[in-house]
């Protein structure tokens, strides 16, 4: 009986979604809505002029990467929420796995692993930092950058049994997250609005442009890196 119900519900959902396809616009023929247009031309408050890379100055938002301009500027409040989702999940892993011992093997890890970590780690960390520092110019940003850094930390955990970063990562996570909100509160104090971009936005495409966007992305990079390192430390236990 249960299986019949499950089958019926799945069939109903499939029919529902196939039906809904007919109302969606055809692939490749989407008209940009007013909101998308305003985001791409960076003129929510302006007059819809085209943005020129390397020339346009002092726009309302200075990030050359359109995705970043939406994620960290126009809809920064959502990103604060997404950061909190990750934070809550990492906290939950820590709370649930609390009390288990760290897993030990009792012998040295592979020679190749130990030596190559010394060579790879600086490169991985450098790449991670590059990705989140240039988040407002190139594809990438705080979330992928932080993940890359956490991958480097994972290598350290694998290559050294004594290595432990859980205390440090908690403090970094705590302060990076708090500073994100503090940036928002400074905006509230200066501009009267939470998370307002209170710094000059500069020329589109410069490293030092886009106001608070790179600052926020660097904070997110640290926070995500620390959180995922914390998750690695929590999961690396004997069950």
């Amino acid at each position: 009986m249960r299986r019949v119900f499950a089958l019926l519900i799945s069939l109903g959902l499939i029919l529902f979604f196939v039906n809904s396809l007919s109302i969606l616009p055809e692939y490749g023929n989407v008209e940009l809505s007013k909101v998308s247009n305003a985001y791409i031309n960076k003129s929510v408050n302006g007059n819809n002029e085209k943005v020129k890379f390397g020339e346009s100055k002092d726009l309302e938002d200075g990030a050359a990467n359109v995705v970043t301009s939406i994620v960290v500027d126009y809809r920064s409040f959502d990103t604060l929420g997404e950061v909190t989702v990750l934070f809550t999940s990492a906290l939950g892993v820590g709370l649930i796995l609390h009390g288990f011992k760290r897993k030990t093997y009792g012998r040295l890890p592979n020679f190749i692993l130990r030596v190559s970590v010394g060579i790879l780690l600086p490169l991985i960390l450098l790449f991670g930092v590059y990705v989140f520092v240039h988040g407002h110019l190139t594809p990438g940003g705080g979330f992928p950058g932080g993940t890359i850094i956490a991958a480097g930390i994972l290598l350290l955990y694998l290559s050294n049994e004594e290595f432990d970063l859980s205390k440090t990562s908690k403090f970094v996570e705590s302060y990076a997250g708090s500073l994100y909100i503090v940036v928002g509160l400074v905006g509230l104090a200066i501009g009267g609005v939470f998370l307002i971009n209170f710094l000059p936005t500069g020329v589109v495409g410069d490293l030092f442009s886009a106001g608070i966007v790179p600052i926020v992305y660097i904070l997110i990079g640290f926070k995500v890196g620390a959180e995922l390192s914390g998750v690695i430390a929590d999961l690396y236990r004997e069950g």
Binding site: T84, E173, S174, I181, V193, L195
Partner: protein
């Protein structure tokens, strides 16, 4: 300034990660700050996050509905924070996050932002559900909740395709009518898990009956109230009454099936969990009658249910054995269960009477019939449990902390007070109804007189 209601608890939660054990001391202070701040905000204000005006950016809307819902939810959090014994070490931080996310869910005027806050609420709720090593229940909740979250997100995407913007007011003005059935069905599936509507409420008994007083006390009251508000905001304000007939049917089915299931339970906490599902169904079908009186009665009943459920769940999970050894707690429990059944002079009587009145006014006879029938079942099992808890052979005793006894007693006295003078709760529910039904005022406040 409205953003501070979300920013302050979130900032505290971030700051207290390295000192998780200390968070329980700061929680009541933060909730008090929030309540004081709430009274200093002006109603009918719209705040654009980052300075991007609606419908382009995210707005936080404080109208009479969201103001009073915030007040109710924050007071529930205050009550929970005053009984720190029920919170295990480190879980106070989750309550801070839950406070921030429910506040955000109530305030937000943006559909994707509401999805983000729904996700935070759900993530915190999954972890709270795993208290007392109840991993099976938490896992079930995680699976159902995540799939429902997916449906909610899909609904948000469809409404973006159909409108070209994510703003609630803009969606209600400009949504392409061919999208309406799809969007409303997907949003309903997304919300049905959290509001505990039956085909999707299978997780509730497993999670609520874990034995931890905190899980049902916060999820069954504060979070349910928030979700019911969001459901009202979406289906009454934004879709302006569309799709409510379907909700009405689901609500009635939930009410009757959950009451029958509650009657058959062998464990008190499971019975209470099913009763919680049933009350959610009742409130849902009442507010989907979509008249002023019905919505008012629905939220009034939800308030009464929340007050009674805090008492019932906290006492049921902390008291071991016989009520004769803990008379005060036993009396509070009995008062709360009588209010749930709807005996005269208790608060539940007032709200059930209002529900009956409003549905007769609408010319609807199905809801009163089902309500009276389910009240009989409810009376049967709640009285059975009262008798069983007052007269049993169990000689085990455990000292209940004085603050749990005191707070549940105060809430029980409040139930009797509301039963005699219901004006306090009626004012709250009237204001919520005003805000939800006044669709034109909402759109003009958010979009600025278009």
């Amino acid at each position: 300034m409205t953003a501070l209601l979300i920013a302050i608890p979130l900032l505290t939660a971030f700051l207290f990660v390295p000192f998780k054990e200390k968070a329980k001391f700061i929680l009541p202070i933060i909730v008090l700050i929030n309540i004081v701040l709430l009274f200093n905000l002006s109603i009918n204000s719209v705040e654009a996050m980052g300075g991007w005006k609606a419908p382009f950016g995210i707005v936080l809307v404080l109208d009479s509905a969201s103001f009073y819902t915030l007040l109710v939810v924050n007071i529930i959090f205050l009550i929970i924070s005053l009984i720190p014994q029920i919170t295990e070490n480190g879980f106070s931080i989750l309550l801070l996050i839950l406070l921030a996310s429910t506040n955000g869910l109530i305030l937000t005027g943006d559909i994707f932002n509401s999805f983000v806050f729904l996700e935070i609420t759900a993530a915190a709720a999954y972890i709270i559900a795993s208290l007392k090593k109840n991993y099976y229940g938490a896992y079930k909740y995680l699976i159902v909740g995540s799939i429902a979250g997916g449906f909610y997100l899909l609904g948000a995407i469809y409404s973006y395709v159909g409108t070209g913007s994510l703003n609630f007011a803009d969606i209600s003005l400009n949504l392409n009518s061919s999208f309406l059935p799809f969007v409303s069905l997907m949003l309903f599936i997304g919300l049905a898990v959290e509001t505990k509507i039956l085909p999707l409420a299978g997780w509730v008994p497993d999670v609520y009956a874990s034995g931890s007083p905190l899980t049902p006390a916060i999820l069954g009251t504060g979070v349910t109230f928030t979700m019911m508000y969001l459901l009202g905001r979406i289906f009454i304000t934004i879709f302006n009454g569309y799709f409510l007939d379907v909700l009405y049917i689901f609500g009635l089915l939930t009410l009757i099936l959950a009451e029958i299931a509650a009657f058959r339970q062998e464990k008190l906490l499971k019975a209470l969990a099913f009763s919680s599902i049933a009350q959610a169904g009742l409130v849902l079908s009442t507010i989907s009658l979509n008249t002023y009186d019905a919505i008012k009665a629905g939220y009034f009943h939800l308030l009464n249910d929340a007050t009674a459920k805090i008492i019932l769940f906290v006492i049921a999970a902390t008291v071991v054995g016989n009520f004769m050894k803990n008379k005060t707690a036993g009396i509070s429990f009995s008062i709360a269960s009588f209010s749930l059944i709807g005996f005269p002079i208790f608060a539940g009587f007032r709200s059930k009477l209002l529900i009956l009145q409003s549905s007769f006014e609408k010319g609807d006879y199905l809801l009163p019939t089902v309500l009276l029938f389910s009240t009989i079942i409810e009376a049967a099992y709640l009285l059975k449990w009262n008798v069983r808890l007052w007269h049993n052979e169990n000689e085990e005793t455990k000292q209940i902390p004085w603050n749990i006894v005191l707070i549940t007693l105060i809430l029980a006295l409040l139930i009797i007070f509301i039963g005699i003078f219901p004006d306090l709760y009626l004012k709250v529910s009237e204001n919520i109804t005003d805000g939800l039904m006044n669709y034109k005022a909402y759109v003009t406040t958010v979009l600025g007189g278009m």
